[in-house]
Symmetry: C2
């Protein structure tokens, strides 16, 4: 009796926040792998702000998800049937498996999906979607390669309790910088200071961000790692130092806009301060992921580095869970668990 | 009988375009230089978009001009009385002399005003305010140091017929890049192509800028040198290549805004394209001006490099002439001639 493979497919391009009608929840047979192919049982998937961008039409760093296609998502899983000796049954793997319970990967597709074996001695399944996965790699390489922080400098990161933010601030701290987070609400800020050990965390929902930046960044801002865009980016621009670096990683405040994106009105602060705003895409650093994973795993073993995930269960909860990202309801890296092993 | 020194002083901080009432036109006695001092007869002054910024209150790369102070301006002149053996009578000099007919420079002020001797064998007085002066230095160092163009790349510059733009495009051409200008009106575009020898020039006032960029930058935009901001910056952002560099030099379209500056709504193109937007201030390169001046003067002697100025006469015309910059009426570097030698 063939198993069912439940899948979320993109039914329509959303206007603003994705709605139920933008998805179709379908079921297909679970295929058998032919020679060279691998069948992965998807155990957990990563919910990322970037997914919102993949749902839009238009030129970007990867093609949009087509209408009727299974929604793209990173995930971790286990090989349950294999026609490919490189990936035997029982291996744990990560890759772009999509929002579905089983993913058949063709031999020639392995590069595209970026399937790679993961070692559960280095971290747990959700950690492989968080600090050892794309968000961790994004924070690590975005901060170090684009932000280029020097010891003693002040690094500010928005979305500090989120997947990318927690990596950015902890790497900054370990590299000898003053790490200052921006997050929404007291609980997240307490977590950022007490568990992630940032030097400070500003609750943008309470009080005046500009005043708080003055207080917590008394020497100004040397690196700003921006995950949110909008008003927060504009306010930080007023506090940057000469030769500051702004890493443009995302703009979650703008992704569901039905009006045009709000550009940073204070961008001329770049001129006055001879500062730079630079974009990054994590895939460019793929050849160096293994090195970063090993370093972060080592920090975790030494107790210097903490990883926090917000795990929701059940594939049927995918649409509502994704939208938690945009309301800022998630606390830590948002993961959807589809199955036990 | 002492000569009169006519001066324009800032009377009020303008709201929007500077108005007549924002200036006071006053007269003072011409002072005698004491020991160490130099008296310069100001022959020509430079009218620059940056002057609008100096009239505003607030933190910037140099302090604002105070109310009641002589308006700051770069100029060229001649030493007519001297108590300083470094600057004997008859020397031609450039410096920040202000909008006045005579400027007394104190020994200890020489660094502040950046007074330096100029050699009229290298270029004429207005050329020393243009391609051999601040605008030329801005275009030269901004393009080469911040834009980092490589031969074969496409360099786009707005305000192409203006002071900075003419240097940027010609240096780009000489360095083996495709040089594409953006300017207002057919006459300026013809000048940019036929005399400055850019590969193309787009008239932003006629037709669709995006389509014209597609046509004239078939390989996309690698370096954009931005003098204007606003809609033009936003449109160019949609055409940049991976790893493009945007040099933020100015935003003349926004300087007289009475509403907030329009930030670049398409700034997330920086993310998708791993591109950079970086500000520059010419003063940072002061130690290397002489090298750049010699190189540009050499290109002029070889007939590879053209300089164009728009010279208006009479100090009394200062307020109206300054405003020509913001309406785009000037054709070439705008210079106000105060006196013959």
């Amino acid at each position: 009796m063939p198993l069912a493979n439940r899948q979320f497919r993109l039914a329509a391009r959303p206007v603003g926040l994705p709605a139920t009608a933008d998805w179709s929840f379908t079921s297909a047979d679970v295929p058998e792998p032919a020679e060279g192919q691998v069948l992965v049982k998807v155990l957990q998937i990563s919910l990322d702000p970037a997914m919102r961008g993949w749902m839009n039409e238009g030129r970007s760093y990867i093609p949009p998800v087509g209408i009727g296609e299974v929604m793209r998502a990173g995930g971790v899983g286990k090989v349950v049937a294999s026609g490919n000796p490189k990936h035997p049954v029982g291996d744990h793997v990560s890759g772009s498996f999509g929002v579905q319970e089983y993913c058949l990967i063709d031999g020639k597709d392995l590069a595209r999906t970026g399937v790679s074996k993961i070692d559960l001695h280095l971290g747990s399944l959700p950690q492989w979607l968080n600090v050892l996965g794309m968000p961790g790699m994004t924070g690590y390489f975005g901060l170090l390669e684009v932000g280029q922080p020097k010891a003693g400098e002040t690094v500010v990161v928005s979305g500090a309790a989120g997947a990318v933010g927690q990596t950015v601030g902890q790497v900054a701290r370990i590299r000898g910088c003053r790490a200052v987070g921006i997050a929404g609400g007291k609980a997240k800020c307490d977590f950022v200071v007490n568990e992630l050990l940032f030097d400070a965390c500003i609750d943008y929902k309470s009080g005046n961000l500009k005043d708080a930046l003055k207080e917590h960044c008394p020497k100004g801002v040397d690196v700003y790692f921006d995950n949110v865009g909008g008003e927060i980016l504009d306010t930080v621009l007023t506090r940057i130092n000469r030769h500051a670096r702004i890493v443009v990683c995302g703009a979650i405040s703008q992704y569901n806009n039905t009006t045009p994106v709000k550009g940073p009105a204070n961008y001329l602060s770049l001129l006055v301060n001879r500062a730079r705003m630079e974009g990054m895409v994590v895939f460019d650093y793929a050849e160096r992921y293994a090195q970063a994973v090993n370093e972060i795993a080592q920090w975790m073993r030494e107790g210097k580095f903490v990883s926090r995930e917000d795990v929701v269960e059940g594939i049927e909860n995918f649409p509502a869970t994704l939208n938690k990202l945009f309301s800022g309801e998630n606390f830590g890296k948002l993961v959807l668990k589809l199955a036990n092993e």
